[in-house]
Symmetry: C2
Subunit: 409 residues, 2 copies
């Protein structure tokens, strides 16, 4: 029997019944609604909704605003969500950075802190750091920790979503099965704490407030040190049977390719992610195939990054351009398989490597079009994520908000 879950085990933030939670969640999602709007959405009777809304106004979660247009009878009054009744925290925990934001119940960011960090420092150090930053910023905002009703966290590793535990994370030594939720509940006892993989969180950010807002089925592909994919299916984040859907970094991109750290040959990540791009460029520099790359290698003391290769390409370096084109093509060809299978309407490309030049996106597009069926690309858009580095923290806030007013299962 599972006892840990991703949503329960918190103290009830406000003793709300299911019908009250449903009513609040309707207003949160849709915006100001009249009593009869809410009643209709939830199929509640007029008398029931009057009681439910009355209680919520007494609690201070909902408030009456403005006057609706009359349709003959009494003018309906609208009910809105009280933004400052409570707050949530969004945490985007990257491999080498931390991005933490505090937002009100309407998702408006009140404070945000970004800093470099190393996830390999382990959960004790990193989580204490996050907690201290949150407490410091709450102090500054004059918000008591008990007013934090939700914490959403994106992490760079595979998460069993139902429990919020990391499962064999390759780049997060020491984090396996660490009780992240319990850690935060100690300091923020009213909060629901939700942990998810970072690409799912980024996809959620784009779904709720970005380029994915009107899309039912889309992919968010993050290309950085690794390559991962957040999947939106029928307007919801899809996590698969074990919560590891979207792990596309180890799909075979080249049957004659290099060996990946996972032991297989030609994995997309090993062939086309940031380190592969940087590695090929360093090799070309050392072989004296590119003067510009050799210059960068010298400036960087022998350690190139994908961004350096992008810079060299924008200076017109042929070799750098070729490396970027090859990487984009391989990513595009793998995405083509997924397009044939999943038939999305949109693919958003994010992550650090997504900004290394127009050539990269163009090559991805060409790779997809080259190997996809015409019907499946007829209405397909492929773009860089317009939310960019904000997708993670925005998604983490959305993740928290979506679980505050949901009955614990």
């Amino acid at each position: 029997m599972k006892t840990v879950t991703n949503t329960s085990s918190r103290e009830a933030p406000f003793p709300l019944e299911i019908s009250q939670l449903n009513a609040v969640e309707s207003v949160r999602r849709v915006g100001p609604l009249s009593r009869s709007d809410i009643a209709e959405r939830l199929s509640y009777s007029r008398s029931k909704i009057t009681v439910v809304v009355g209680d919520l106004i007494d609690t201070g979660i909902l408030e009456e605003v403005g006057d609706g247009t009359s349709t003959g009878g009494r003018r309906p009054r609208f009910l809105d969500f009280k933004a400052d009744f409570g707050y949530v925290v969004g945490v985007d925990l990257g491999a080498s950075s931390l991005d933490i934001a505090i937002a009100d119940f309407k998702g408006h960011i009140l404070d945000r802190k970004y800093m470099p960090s190393d996830v390999r420092d382990g959960p004790d150090a990193i989580l204490a750091l996050i907690r201290n930053i949150i407490i410091d910023r709450l102090d500054y905002l004059d918000i008591p920790p008990t007013k934090i009703y939700g914490i959403g966290i994106g992490v760079p590793g595979p998460v069993e979503f139902s429990t919020g535990l990391l499962i064999a994370p390759p780049i997060m030594p020491g984090w396996e099965a660490f009780p992240i939720k319990a850690f935060f509940l100690e300091t923020f006892p009213s909060a629901v704490v939700i942990v998810d993989n970072e690409v799912n969180v980024m996809a959620l950010g784009e779904l709720r407030g970005g380029a994915g807002k009107n899309e039912e089925n889309f992919l968010f592909v993050k290309i950085g040190t690794g390559i991962g994919c957040g999947i939106v299916c029928n307007g919801q984040i899809y996590r698969g049977s074990n919560g590891c859907a979207g792990d596309i970094g180890h799909i075979c991109a080249d049957q004659n390719g290099t060996t990946c750290h996972c032991g297989n040959v030609g994995c997309l990540e090993a062939m086309a992610a940031g380190p592969a791009i940087a590695g090929l460029a360093a090799k070309a520099a050392l072989a004296r195939n590119s003067a510009i790359l050799a210059k960068y290698l010298e400036i960087r003391n022998g350690e190139l990054t994908a961004e350096d290769v992008g810079a060299a390409a924008s200076e017109g370096d042929r070799v750098a351009n070729e490396i970027i084109r090859d990487s984009g093509r391989m990513i595009g060809e793998v995405l083509a398989s997924l397009v044939n299978f999943f038939n999305p309407s949109l693919i958003l490309i994010g992550g650090g490597v997504s900004h290394i030049g127009h050539q990269f996106l163009a090559s991805i597009r060409r790779g997809v079009l080259h190997r996809s069926l015409p019907l499946s690309t007829r209405h397909l858009r492929i773009d860089t994520s317009p939310m960019g580095p904000d997708a993670g923290v925005n998604g983490a806030i959305a993740l928290a908000l979506e679980h505050v007013f949901v009955a614990a299962s």
Copy 2:
């Protein structure tokens, strides 16, 4: 503006209101329910459900059965669906066969007719044939055509599900955009007519009454002349943005492979489907690499099938076994990409080629395990479809039933 849709444009079969449709659909899906069960499921008030159910009993769709266990007050009476109030037809239209079944409202098959046919004869001939068979069987069963309230049809080509029209079907000349629904409405004016791609229909068959019954996320892979995939996502058939999700036959299986009829190189279908298996075997027979295959080639007058290769393999032919193993491995490796991406809990292998021997399934399994991540295969089962050739017609009946009691959009 679209005017054709996959569900509307029929005469209302029985003038039911939305609340009545909802009540009937609850009982159809779940089985006998008390009035308060239905009320709770639909969040209807006690007085509303009394009226709704009363009307449905008057119409003859629901009937009272047995007595429930009392929980203190009056003993609740259960309401059940009247199986013989109406009937549906399921049609599995294959490339070279027709499978037609008539079922009652509970999905029990009353009559079934299977026959070879050639879809290339075109829609006029084939649809008239289907209609005549249905009329003949209804006559035999003494059921008037107006009692047919739903017709579900699986077809071997891409379907725009919202309209039920075929879009550029490669093996169905003359069927593009043919108004299949309108054709059947002429003879069966009370019916909702739903057309879908055959693999989606097969996946639905397994989802409702087969091995997929308790699975939220699974794949049904049909391997025959082509290779296609039905996707079940969160307990529902997933069709993608253009309705062409699951078109996996043209995913690249071998970058140095043979050229496919689509113009690309190494498509899974060109490398591993029935014709590829038969073609490789014929080549080996002509090159005198296998005496057993040469024997089959002679018996078959120079035209081998995948089934012949399976028979040769079961006679111990090394070359036949190798061909089957290679095909299975390639299918498995492509499925591995989809497993990493979609993380299903089950893959069902169906279609004619799925029965060419244990070696085939074993090779598919090996291919998947070889290239998938451990977390995504931890609970993954890969099996041949236990429903086998019945999946299509069972799914077509389920497709019809699921649309009878749904309000036309």
